[in-house]
Symmetry: C2
Subunit: 240 residues, 2 copies
DNA sequence: GTATCGCTCAATACACTGTATCGCAAGGAG
DNA sequence: CTCCTTGCGATACAGTGTATTGAGCGATAC
């Protein structure tokens, strides 16, 4: 608004605030900005205003590329699916599923917000379809899984386990971080509350877990759980 | 504000709006009002203002009973855990875990919002502790599970599967409802989008699922998955 | 009986959300 | 040069969780 004198030199003008930088936008730019924000500060940090600000744009600008915020979240999920490495064709079903599970787990560790979204909305993005396709293809055609329903059942079971397990892990990690304690400490110290509960004697087995269990690292727990699941599938589908 | 004439009769006065009804409140009343709202309209319907309004109170009144909205959500979750029937002591581990899984699944069908919350926050309410205790106790002491770590591993695996599976089921149910189609219809019709994707030939296995699979009812799918998991556990823990 | 204190609850206020609407300004067509 | 279109930004609105403030009232002290 203040018209500057034409020849006056101002050497540390911060930015022309009227036109900050009309960067050309794109869905991908928006999505990766949103992902960066979510990685740094959690899903709460993903608001249309903040995403737009990170791109030097006004909030409403995004609506040219995105229908609604939910669509943005879907795109974020699909992008993460795209990061997950898939087993090459011809991999054995057990190794294949193991790799897929590990891939999801790794992605969820990189992007903790992933677990809040995945499984909670229908997946139809191209990357998530590719992921699903590869998972199914790992089993399809193998003699242990004669029909597509067997394939679907096995893959679905593994996916359900992986989603649940990974979500639990991330939740636990968050809780530890927010109390600033490792789980071991948490269980032993965890404020007087858990102590008091356990002291009532109403929870003997829980107490045993808290005081006697080994608490091996979480990756090992995940692997053990996964091998239970895979063993179960193998039991019902022994090769002919 | 309008002082009514003392003797004037008004027979359908809607409500004295100045003092609508100073119901005595309690945590339980608040929680069950919130649950009712969530059951009817989903978690979005649970705002402090709406919960308070359902109890004829102002929003800030709730803060006398509840620290924060998150605490209310935790209480809701714990309340649902309290609804879940637990297997009596002495039940075999496999039947016990089956009953527990069925209980969670049933609760999640009654309260669809449950799956959005459970697993996403640390569980420390009394009912959820009781639930955890009972789950562990079902295995503890059985010869198949010699140490508490074995118990924990098995229960954790089953819980991860159940949470993941139930979340997926509810998500699918929501999607069906929002598109107004059953899944079968959905898969065959699902807007041109999925059609087009499948027509690319990039997803042959997925196409097989959509066109050839039997789509047995979801309870059966859940049961099959659960028996995979239980079989796997049984394989690694054969009775001595 | 009166005055004061303390407590409870409601109203207001604030910063923030997602999104609908509107008006401006720049670019292309005649 | 003028007019029209189109895309973008500012503004606006209804809603959120919660901090603060203020009013009313019951109980206690004199």
């Amino acid at each position: 608004m203040s018209s500057p004198m034409p020849n006056e030199l101002v050497w540390d003008r911060p930015e022309p605030p009227s036109k900050p930088s009309p960067t050309p936008l794109s869905r991908d730019l928006i999505v990766s900005a949103a992902i960066r924000l979510a990685d740094e500060g959690g899903l709460d940090e993903v608001s249309l205003r903040k995403v737009a600000a990170a791109l030097n744009a006004g909030p409403m600008r995004l609506y040219g590329y995105i229908e609604t915020k939910d669509e943005l979240l879907d795109l974020m999920v699909d992008e993460v699916y795209g990061e997950i490495e898939l087993p090459p064709p011809g991999t054995g079903w057990r190794e294949g599923l193991t790799q897929i599970a590990a891939g999801i787990r790794a992605a969820a560790k990189r992007h903790e917000w992933f677990v809040d979204l995945v499984g909670g909305r229908p997946r139809r993005g191209p990357n998530s379809l590719r992921h699903m396709e590869a998972s199914l293809a790992t089993l399809e055609g193998k003699p242990e899984f004669p029909t597509i329903d067997h394939v679907l059942g096995a893959v679905g079971t593994v996916m359900a386990f992986v989603h649940g397990a990974v979500r639990g892990e991330v939740t636990e990690a968050r809780a530890e971080r927010s109390t600033g304690m490792t789980e071991e400490q948490w269980q032993r110290a965890s404020g007087p509350y858990i102590e008091r509960m356990l002291a009532t004697g109403e929870f003997p087995t829980l107490a045993k877990v808290v005081y006697d269990a080994e608490h091996t690292n979480s990756a090992a727990v995940f692997d053990i759980g996964l091998s239970y699941v895979l063993d179960g599938i193998a039991t019902r589908h022994t090769p002919a």
